[in-house]
C-alpha cells in the first residue's frame, strides 16, 4: 500500500509558516493585502473565492473581493486593474477565471503588474519560469505540487516525470519547474495529452506521474509501473446516490487500484487541492516581503 501524500497536513504547515511571516511583516508596519476581482456569478468560482478570503483572514492577510456583474466591459476591468497596480497598499491582485467570453482574458492578465501577479499567470512571469529566473511568481497549483514532492523528499533528479495535460496553469508550468537546474528539478519530463498515442506505454515509464487532464479515474493499475509516485491534480464529480449530495469527488487516477502499486500517492480530495490556496497565500506574502525590502531601500 502506497504512502499517502497528505496535502491537507502539508498545506496547514505552510499556512502556519505564512502566518508567522505575516506577523513579522505586520510588526514592520506592513499589512499584506490581496485584492480579488470576481466577474459574474459562477457558483464554483464563488466557492473558491470564498475559500481564498477565509484562508487569507486566518493567516492575517487582508483580502477584499471586488465583484462585477458579468456584463462588465473589458475597459472597466483594465482601468480598475491599473488603479490597483498603482495602489502601494496592495501586494497581490488576482482575477478569478474564467471571465465572460466578451472579455479578452489575455489582455486582462497582461494588465496586472508583474510585481503583484500572485497567480503567476502574467506572460512575463511565465516566461521567467521558462528562463529559470528566480524573480517570478510560480502559479499556485504547480508550486504546490513541487512543494509536496519536496516535503515528502521525492527525488526528482534524473527521474522520468510524465505529465498528463498541457494547460497553461498546471501542466506546462509544472514541467518547467521540474526541468529547472535545482532541487526538485533536473527531471526528465514528458508531456502527454489528448493527442498522445499509446498513452499507457508512456505512463508505464513514469517514475513520477502527474495527472491533470480532468478525466475521472482514468489512470488504472495496468498503466503505471510498480513504485511510481502519483500526483493527482484532477478533481472530478461523479454521481453517487449513496452520498447525501448525490456525488463524490474523484481524481484522474483510480485511487483504489493504483494505490496498491504506487509507492506514494496524493488522495482526492486532500492532496493537491488544499496546496493551491496555501501557495497563493505564500505568493502574496512573498510579494509583501519584496515590497518591504523595496520600501526599506527607498527610505534607507
Amino acid at each position: 500500500m502506497a504512502t499517502i501524500i497528505d496535502g491537507k497536513k502539508i498545506s496547514k504547515i505552510i499556512k502556519n509558516e505564512v502566518k508567522s511571516d505575516v506577523d513579522k511583516l505586520i510588526q514592520a508596519g506592513i499589512k499584506p493585502h490581496l485584492t480579488v476581482i470576481f466577474v459574474g456569478d459562477n457558483p464554483a468560482s464563488r466557492i473558491y473565492v470564498n475559500m481564498k478570503e477565509k484562508a487569507c483572514k486566518k493567516a492575517g492577510i487582508f483580502s477584499e473581493t471586488i465583484q462585477y456583474d458579468k456584463s462588465v466591459s473589458e475597459s472597466v476591468l483594465l482601468e480598475k486593474i491599473n488603479k490597483l497596480n498603482e495602489n502601494n497598499n496592495i501586494h497581490g491582485i488576482l482575477v478569478q477565471l474564467p471571465l465572460p467570453s466578451h472579455i479578452n482574458e489575455a489582455a486582462v492578465l497582461e494588465t496586472i503588474s508583474t510585481d503583484k501577479d500572485v497567480d503567476g499567470f502574467h506572460p512575463t512571469n511565465l516566461g521567467r519560469l521558462v528562463a529559470g529566473s528566480e524573480n517570478t511568481f510560480i502559479p499556485a497549483t504547480p508550486y504546490g505540487i513541487v512543494e509536496l514532492l519536496k516535503r515528502y523528499k521525492v527525488e526528482t533528479e534524473g527521474k522520468h516525470t510524465v505529465i498528463l495535460g498541457r494547460s497553461n496553469i498546471v501542466g506546462k508550468p509544472v514541467g518547467l519547474l521540474l526541468l529547472r537546474k535545482k532541487c526538485t528539478g533536473n527531471a526528465t519530463v514528458t508531456y502527454c495529452h489528448s493527442r498522445t498515442k499509446n498513452l499507457a506505454s508512456v505512463t508505464k515509464e513514469a517514475d513520477i506521474l502527474i495527472a491533470a487532464m480532468g478525466k475521472p479515474e482514468f489512470i488504472k493499475k495496468n498503466m503505471v509501473k510498480k513504485g511510481v509516485v502519483i500526483i493527482d491534480v484532477g478533481i472530478n464529480r461523479v454521481e453517487d446516490p449513496s452520498k447525501k449530495r448525490g456525488y463524490r469527488l474523484v481524481g484522474d487516477v483510480d485511487f483504489d487500484q493504483v494505490s496498491k502499486v504506487a509507492s506514494m500517492i496524493t488522495p482526492v480530495p486532500g492532496g493537491v487541492g488544499p496546496m493551491t490556496i496555501a501557495m497563493l497565500l505564500k505568493n502574496t506574502v512573498y510579494s509583501a516581503q519584496k515590497y518591504s525590502l523595496k520600501d526599506g531601500k527607498q527610505h534607507g
Copy 2:
C-alpha cells in the same frame, strides 16, 4: 538512406518570401529596420553578426550594428535600448549574446520592447509561447526547426518528440511549439538533458528526435528507432588535419550511422543553421508589418 532535410534550400525559399514582403512594405513607405547591439569582440559572435547584416542587406532590410567595448556599463546599454525602443523607424532590436559577465543579461533582454524583440528572448514573449498566444516573436532556431518539419510535411500530431537539451533559446521553446494545439504541434514531448538516466531507452522511443546538447556525434545508430526523423541542432568543431582549416563541423548526431536508419535527417552544416537567420529576417519583417498596421490605424 534517409531523406535529407535541406535547410539551405528551405532558408533560401524563406528569404525570398521575406524579400517579397519587404518589397511590399517599401512600396507602402516602410523600410524594415533591424538594430543589432554587439558588445565586445567574441570572434564567433562577430561572424554571426556579419552574417545577419549580409542577409538583411540581401533581403532589403536596413540593418545597423551598434558596437560597444566589452567594458561598457549595463546602464549605458539599457539607456541605449530605451532610445531604440522609442525610435519609430526601428522594427527589430537584437542584443548579440553572450554579454560580458558584469552585465545582467536578463535585465538587458527585459528592457527590449516586446514589440521589437525579434529574437523572442524577452520573458513576456517566452510566456506568450507558454500561453499559446499568437501575438509573440518565436525564437529563431526553434521557429526554424518547426518550419523545416512543416515544409517537409512531417506529421507531429500524436508523435513522440524527444528533445535533447533544455536551453532557453532552443530546447524549451521548441518543445512548447510542438505542444501547441495547431499544425506542427500536438506532439507528445519529452525533454532529456545531462541528468537523464537511461538516455538511449528514451531516445529509442522517439518518432522525432531533436538534438541540441552540443556533444559531437553523440547520438549513435543504436540509440534511435528505424524511421525516426532527426533534427540536429548541434554545431561542433572536431579536429580534422585533412581539412585546410584543421577542423570540420559536425552535429550532435553521428550522421553517417544514423542516416542509415532514419527516415529524414538534417545535415550539419546545411540543416538547422541556415534556418536561424532566415527566421530572424522573417521576425523582423513581421514586426514591420505589425507596425504598418498600427500606423494605418492611427492615421485611418
